[in-house]
Amino acid sequence: MATVPARPAPFPFDPDTTALLVIDMQRDFLEPGGFGETLGNDVGQLRRVIAPTAALLAGCRAAGLRIIHTREGHLPDLSDCPPAKLLRGAPDLRIGDPGPNGRILVRGEYGHDIVDELAPLPGEPVVDKPGKGAFYATELAELLTGVRSLVVAGVTTEVCVHTTVREANDRGFECLVLADCVGSYFPDFQRVGLEMIAAQGGIFGWVATSTEFLAALPARHLEEIS
């Protein structure tokens, strides 16, 4: 067992039963000129997450941790997009509309894919999800067979990261959210989102930084990986 200093208490984990979950680091949310920016959001708030998450991925790959990526998006015919999600409000761009990087939040489009800096390697599963939570209507639970602890990175903190951590926590997974590897367009929600995770004795999980986690991660011998 390894231990990471964390809020509200040290986070113990066994690397053999721990997976890294990287949530929705997609071009549409992170890149200038993408969907997120066209909605008036400051993508700089999210882009600061890319560098520490790239370092986190490198460290987890070297240690032989399981790594899973997620993407939010819908089938091209939008048959998996609930009307309440598609038609709500009066945005300039709706899901499925042509946007700067292809059709908004549609699987297979350029904007729907993960940013180059954090591109999945062969063998790393990519879970496509129709909602905010990565467990609902996906194969994630099956992919996590034998996993007890989840280390969580991605965007945005209060929406998809929070929903997925809440789902994972109810399913008995122990979640460590890395404060510098999750991001929100809104600094207040970044702060309160992290506070809510660790409130009431860690009601949804633990919070630490990627530096603290990487320092606690034992490097695995090469022959052990092979």
Partner: protein
């Protein structure tokens, strides 16, 4: 058939499709249990101020009377575990022990968060009446490991109005689950409450961002005012 809507709400008049007949709408009353809002219960034992979690009771009781008269489906939920604690994840038990109120341990209102114990019961102000559905859930979300989705779809429900406690934990988790499943959700600011007033406000604010990422926020009086008989 009475209809609800459009309700004066943030960030758009609810629901997105204008109005909804009451037979496609359900009122969710989440975890109004002594353990979360009664003297001697779990939240009280952890040292929080239960006046914050009780604050939504009068408005919820008034709204219940209104929707019962309309014939709307009412679903109550209770968080709790079976007496043998077979459905209690190890980390949830460990955390509750760390904070001094271990789930399953004896407290002033019986064993904490255990099904059948006095503290686990719904408080009298908003207690279920005959014919109303009660869903027992082991987690924060009311959809995971329960029959809630089946019950709602069997009744033809497409729209949900949410009340209960606590705003940032069980109500929010359930609203997120419902939203992903395509239900059009409205959370009521005066019929919810949290152990921390700041978290209550932040949780409501989060709902309204990005065009209503999880749905809408309104007051119960706005729902009553938007009822078309």
């Amino acid at each position: 058939m009475a209809r609800i809507g459009p309700v004066k709400a943030e960030p758009y008049p609810w629901p997105y499709d204008g109005d909804v007949p009451v037979d496609r709408t359900a009122l969710l009353c989440i975890d109004w249990q002594t353990d979360f809002c009664g003297p001697g219960g779990y939240v009280d034992s952890m040292g929080y101020d239960i006046s914050l979690t009780r604050a939504g009771l009068p408005a919820t009781a008034a709204l219940l009377a209104h929707v019962r008269a309309l014939g709307m489906l009412v679903v109550h939920t209770r968080e709790g575990h079976d007496p043998a604690l077979t459905d209690l994840p190890a980390n949830k038990r460990w955390r509750s022990r760390q904070i001094g109120a271990e789930i399953g341990a004896a407290g002033p209102c019986g064993r904490i968060l255990v099904r059948g114990e006095p503290g686990w019961e719904i408080v009298p102000e908003v207690a279920p009446v005959a014919g109303e559905v009660v869903v027992d859930k082991p987690g924060k979300g009311a959809f995971y490991a329960t029959n809630l989705d089946l019950v709602l779809r069997t009744h033809g429900i497409t729209h949900l109005i949410l009340t209960g406690i606590t705003t940032d934990v069980c109500v929010h988790t359930t609203m997120r689950e419902a939203n992903d499943r395509g239900y059009e959700c409205l959370i009521l600011s005066d019929c919810t409450g949290a152990t921390d007033a700041g978290n209550h406000a932040a949780a409501l604010h989060m709902v309204t961002m990005q065009g209503g990422v999880f749905g809408c926020v309104a007051a119960s009086t706005d729902v009553i005012a938007a009822t078309i008989h």
